[in-house]
């Protein structure tokens, strides 16, 4: 049996080390750029190695670093696609491609990976986003002394951990990836970010996430102490030791996990790190931060909070639904008032994550299927939006709305793509997010009409923030602010094109995605509903 997931985790990790350890050379003026492979990169490097210690990575090594990064991220995607083709859709509710190896026997810790339908979808989404981020960031760090090699090494390191965190089926291993992921992002924002606030933003991001993670550590330890094992498969289900836990302990453990996931998600009122972090991020970083990292929070709520402690769920449903609604409205209103587009998109995500958590805690099939689908679609739609804002920033050197106006006159393709992506974000039928948003509404309504009605207000506000942003930046007469704007370059088109294609495809035909997600979600819903019925009988 081929250890697909281990390969997919190891590939980017190896790539990261390679990019980082690439010999630092000062390139001569003419560098033959024939081969993009790693070996050729090494060969060139040794051939032209100079004695000058001041050379900290010239253009040649930076170009090679980018190519290696792109190569490794595409190879990882290829591996995962090959794996996905072997995925047994009829059994998407159970873990497949599982591997279990002892890691730290004294504590009963395993290296255990495996994916069900939901994890598979999220792993694939991450793997799709990374090469596009690399493409989009191609020129961003050219003026740095290291040409951005460090950044690309961090992207690959982060990719390994992102795949690991979704694929982990040992609670301890999940925690390891969950926490370790923060470090590359800390550097990506603080060292390679934008603006003067970037180090403060990075520190804030890290401390928020770390604080949540540490609270979760208590619950992780609690799982081991009360559950007797770290293996997820042995912890879930009625026969496990956790199922017999007394309700108050279960609630505390649930809460420990939930706080960490709510910070990650980000849910009001612990969302405050996100706008600042996204505002100080490079667009590529923001894509991975909002598109993937934050999904770990909502994924964790499904996979760990609900499935490990189903008996505690009913106690938390209404508070969480309430916080979700606040997030939806609050995020949308603040998005309307933003003057910086990066921050604006970040606030829209606070609103969108409100929909996701609402769907999850509606505790029914439609709601959770919608939420799970939303996670994937949001990754593509918001990812594309961040990338497009990034293209604007690259042209203008600013993300402020007031610095733009009438872009559609000078760069019509860019404006068009921007509009389509924006419309996807506001949930236009025919585009992917609509399907998920609709399912969430169905679920929320079935749960209780009032939250559903409140949530609809969020959609109205979404139209406002997206269209108003479009109006102020893209339409109108082209002023001198946007004079000489180039339209989408081929590289940029390649970065954002696949995302648009996916948004359209899944908007018109979401069935393949639903086929893999639904069985996994059914399992979660059943667990929660069974437990609450039992609780009702007592």
């Amino acid at each position: 049996m081929i250890p697909w997931l281990t390969i997919a985790i190891a590939l980017p990790a190896v790539g990261a080390v390679l990019v980082w350890a690439l010999p630092r050379v000062k390139a001569p003026d003419t560098v033959s750029e024939t081969a993009a492979s790693a070996s050729a990169g090494g060969g060139t490097a040794t051939a032209v190695r100079t004695k000058a210690p001041a050379a900290t990575g010239g253009p040649a090594s930076a170009e090679n670093a980018k190519r290696i990064t792109l190569g490794f991220s595409l190879a990882t995607l290829a591996v995962l696609v090959a794996m996905a083709l072997r995925f047994d859709t009829s059994d998407a509710g159970s873990l497949q491609f599982t591997e279990v190896h002892e890691w730290i026997p004294r504590f009963g810790i395993h290296y255990a990976v495996g994916v069900d339908g939901l994890a598979l979808a999220l792993v694939l989404m991450s793997a799709v986003l990374v090469p596009l981020v690399v493409l989009a960031a191609w020129r961003e760090h050219d003026d740095r002394e290291d040409g951005g090699r460090g950044y690309f090494a961090l992207v690959l390191a982060l990719e390994a951990m992102m795949i690991g965190v979704f694929a982990a089926t040992d609670v301890f291993l999940f925690y390891v990836f969950f926490e370790a992921m923060l470090i590359p992002v800390y550097f990506m924002i603080g060292r390679y970010g934008r603006g003067n606030e970037r180090s403060a933003a990075a520190l804030k991001f890290l401390l928020y996430s770390l604080a949540g993670g540490l609270v979760m550590l208590v619950s992780v330890i609690g799982v081991a102490v009360y559950g007797g094992t770290f293996l997820w498969a042995d912890l879930v289900g009625g026969g496990s030791a956790l199922a017999a836990l007394d309700p108050s302990t279960a609630r505390w453990l649930f809460l420990g996990f939930f706080i960490a996931f709510a910070i990650k998600a980000p849910m009001w009122p612990v969302h405050t790190w996100l706008p600042q972090a996204a505002g100080a991020s490079r667009p590529g970083t923001a894509v991975l931060l909002v598109g993937v990292l934050d999904k770990v929070g909502t994924y964790g709520m499904l996979r760990y909070c609900i499935e490990l402690f189903p008996s505690a769920v009913s106690w938390f449903v209404w508070p969480v639904v309430g916080l979700s609604l606040v997030s939806i409205i609050y995020g949308a209103i603040l998005a309307i008032g933003q003057s910086d587009m990066m921050r604006l998109v970040a606030y829209t995500s606070v609103s969108h994550f409100g929909f996701i958590t609402l769907g999850i805690f509606a505790l029914n099939q439609q709601g959770q299927a919608g939420a799970a689908l939303y996670m994937v679609n949001h990754g593509f739609a918001t990812g594309a939006l961040f990338l497009l804002v990034g293209f604007l920033v690259a042209r203008r050197g600013s993300a402020l709305i007031e610095d733009f106006g009438g872009v559609q006159n000078t760069a019509p393709k860019l404006a068009g793509v921007f509009l389509v992506t924006g419309l996807a974000g506001l949930g236009l039928p025919g585009l992917a997010p609509f399907v998920s948003e609709f399912l969430v509404f169905l679920g929320a309504y079935a749960f209780s009409p009032v939250p559903a009605v409140v949530a609809v207000v969020g959609v109205v506000l979404a139209a406002l923030y997206i269209l108003w942003m479009y109006q102020r930046t893209m339409s109108g007469p082209a002023g001198e602010k946007v004079a000489g704007f180039k339209d989408l370059s081929a590289r940029e088109a390649w970065a954002v094109g696949p995302l648009l294609a996916l948004i359209l495809a899944f908007g018109l035909y979401p069935q393949p995605l639903l086929d893999v997600i639904n069985p996994a979600v059914e399992r979660t819903v059943e667990t929660a509903v069974d437990a609450s019925e039992e609780g009702g009988e007592e």
Partner: protein, 543 residues
């Protein structure tokens, strides 16, 4: 004892000494004595290499013997005692001794480092700082090779401290360990007044704490009628020595536990007995700080674990609540005070106090998991901290002379010296307990033990304190990597082979214990037993 028949008997039970089991201690002791003789008889110019060689060999030999002894312990047997029950030789002690020997060896590398013919120590400690005489000695290239015998004696004390099986031996070990350290603290080459102040503070406070310890031991003797740990344990179980038949000896025992605890908690630097740490860590020559922060801490915690689990194990109900409070105070107060520190050595000192608090949570757990967790934590923390101090020795002021501890001036260090700053970053991540480093496994081990023992509130305090400490570790990384280098920034002197080696060992240990801790964890006491079961204790005269 066939000889005893026809020879005059000096004592009734002549102690049978197992020389092999005593060999690690005797080797270090012998090397120390030899080193003193070198000072007297070997010409000054040839002393240094000889001293370093002897010290390194002695520590290596001690480590090798400890490993062999651990290997020769029969399966299923915890260990034994030697020298009439004065010293224990069991798996716990051997693990700690091995750790101390290795940490001392690594610190020795740092101590021996020399740049432009100068090491970290004063040319002539007896001269008045700033005087003509001092200048003359510096120009003449004088050096204190006495440092090496002093280090050896200190290490001897460290090796004995966790092994002691009675209070008198433990007190002697405490003094053998501390006295050379008091001296070593005052020997810094730069900022000598500062260093001497640190030495005086350490000496005065240390003397007080030793007195507390001794008073406590006397009280316990009054209660139990013995200083031997096994006999005290039996007396505690029986409710006191024979004279306390009505159980009225309790106050003596409580006073004794309290006073002994003060002495030991002082050595580990727990709040409220931590005040010496920042001053001493900052003033002492950095290589000596490294030795204290690693070796001394392991030894002191080893002794603390032994005292609380073996003689006082039966009265856990009395001391556990007190240690709860001390642990909470330590984790909270030190973390908060550390936030405002700007000097790297003071910061690491407060960090060491916080870590002592984390380890105390494992002591409070009072289980063999707790014992094992504390032991692993100590080993992991020791190597990381030596590495961190090694980095500190390299960051100097512009003229390259004095160490530059002011963190705000470390801006951009990561841009100019990525390897050095990268190593320090790894150490800081380990201190903060980020996964994939040794610090995380250690933290998990102690917290897991505490939760298993039902001390979950303590663990919650612990993780919150961790979150606060993360702030200042991450801030250092921020300053080094996210800020641009400044014109008056520090100079980084080229790492010599010794310092480079120390950093490399620190990095390797931090990663290895983080990624693959299994082999080390296998050496620790098995879970599920009483912690005392992992420690040999025998009554006097039976060893």
């Amino acid at each position: 004892m066939f000889l005893a028949d026809n020879l005059p008997v000096v004592t009734e039970n002549p102690p049978v000494l197992d020389w092999w089991l005593l060999a690690p201690l005797l080797t270090v002791f012998g090397a120390g004595v030899l080193a003193v003789l070198f000072e007297a008889f070997v010409p000054a110019s040839r002393r240094r290499p000889l001293q370093i060689g002897v010290a390194a060999l002695a520590l290596l030999a001690a480590f090798a013997m400890v490993v062999l002894q651990a290997g020769s312990l029969p399966e299923g047997q915890v260990g034994t005692t030697v020298a009439a029950g004065a010293l224990a030789v069991d798996r716990t002690v051997l693990f700690l001794q091995g750790t101390i020997a290795l940490l001392a060896l690594v610190s020795l590398l740092l101590i021996s480092e020399r740049r432009d013919g100068r090491d970290a120590f004063a040319a002539q400690a007896a001269t008045v700082p700033g005087s003509e005489e001092e200048r003359a000695h510096i120009l003449a290239g004088s050096q204190h090779t006495e440092v090496y015998p002093l280090v050896l004696f200190a290490v001897l004390g460290m090796l004995m401290f966790p092994a002691a099986n009675d209070f008198l031996t433990m007190f002697i070990a405490l003094e053998v360990m501390s006295l050379p350290l008091y001296l070593l603290c005052g020997l810094a080459r730069r900022r000598r007044l500062f260093s001497q102040e640190a030495a005086v503070k350490y000496f005065l406070l240390g003397a007080f704490s030793s007195a507390f310890f001794l008073f406590g031991a006397a009280m316990v003797y009054g209660y139990a009628g013995s200083v031997n740990f096994a006999e005290i344990r039996a007396a505690v179980d029986a409710g006191g020595a024979a004279i306390f038949q009505e159980g009225n000896g309790e106050p003596l025992l409580l006073l004794g536990i309290g006073l002994v605890a003060v002495g030991l908690l002082f050595k580990v630097g727990a709040v409220p007995f931590h005040n010496w740490k920042p001053d001493v860590y900052q003033g002492a020559p950095t290589p000596i700080t490294a030795l204290m922060a690693s070796g001394t801490l392991v030894a002191a915690f080893g002794a603390l674990l032994r005292v609380f689990f073996v003689p006082f194990g039966g009265s856990a109900g009395q001391w556990e609540p007190v240690l709860w409070i001390v642990a909470v105070l330590t984790m909270v107060a030190a973390a908060i005070v550390a936030v405002s520190q700007r000097d790297v050595k003071r910061l690491l000192a407060y960090s060491s106090v916080v870590h002592a608090g984390f380890i105390l949570t494992a002591v409070v757990a009072g289980s063999s998991e707790g014992l094992a967790g504390a032991m692993f934590y100590l080993a992991a923390y020791g190597f990381t901290t030596v590495g961190a101090f090694a980095v500190v020795t390299l960051v100097r002021t512009k003229d390259g002379g004095q160490e530059l501890g002011d963190l705000d001036r470390w801006s951009g260090l990561g841009r100019r010296h990525p390897a050095l700053a990268g190593a320090l970053t790894l150490f800081l991540l380990a201190f903060a307990g980020i996964p994939l480093t040794s610090g995380f496994v250690g933290k998990f081990a102690v917290f897991e033990a505490a939760v298993s023992a039902g001390a979950t509130p303590l663990v919650v305090v612990g993780v919150l304190s961790s979150a606060v400490t993360a702030f200042f570790y991450m801030r250092i990384i921020l300053v080094m990597f996210f800020r641009d280098p400044e014109a008056d920034g520090p100079t980084v002197v080229r790492a010599g082979a010794a310092t480079g080696g120390v950093i490399a060992i620190g990095v390797a240990a931090t990663l290895l214990l983080g990624l693959y801790p299994g082999p080390v964890l296998d050496l620790l006491p098995p879970s599920g037993e009483e912690p005392a079961a992992a420690m040999a204790d025998q009554a006097a005269g039976t060893g």
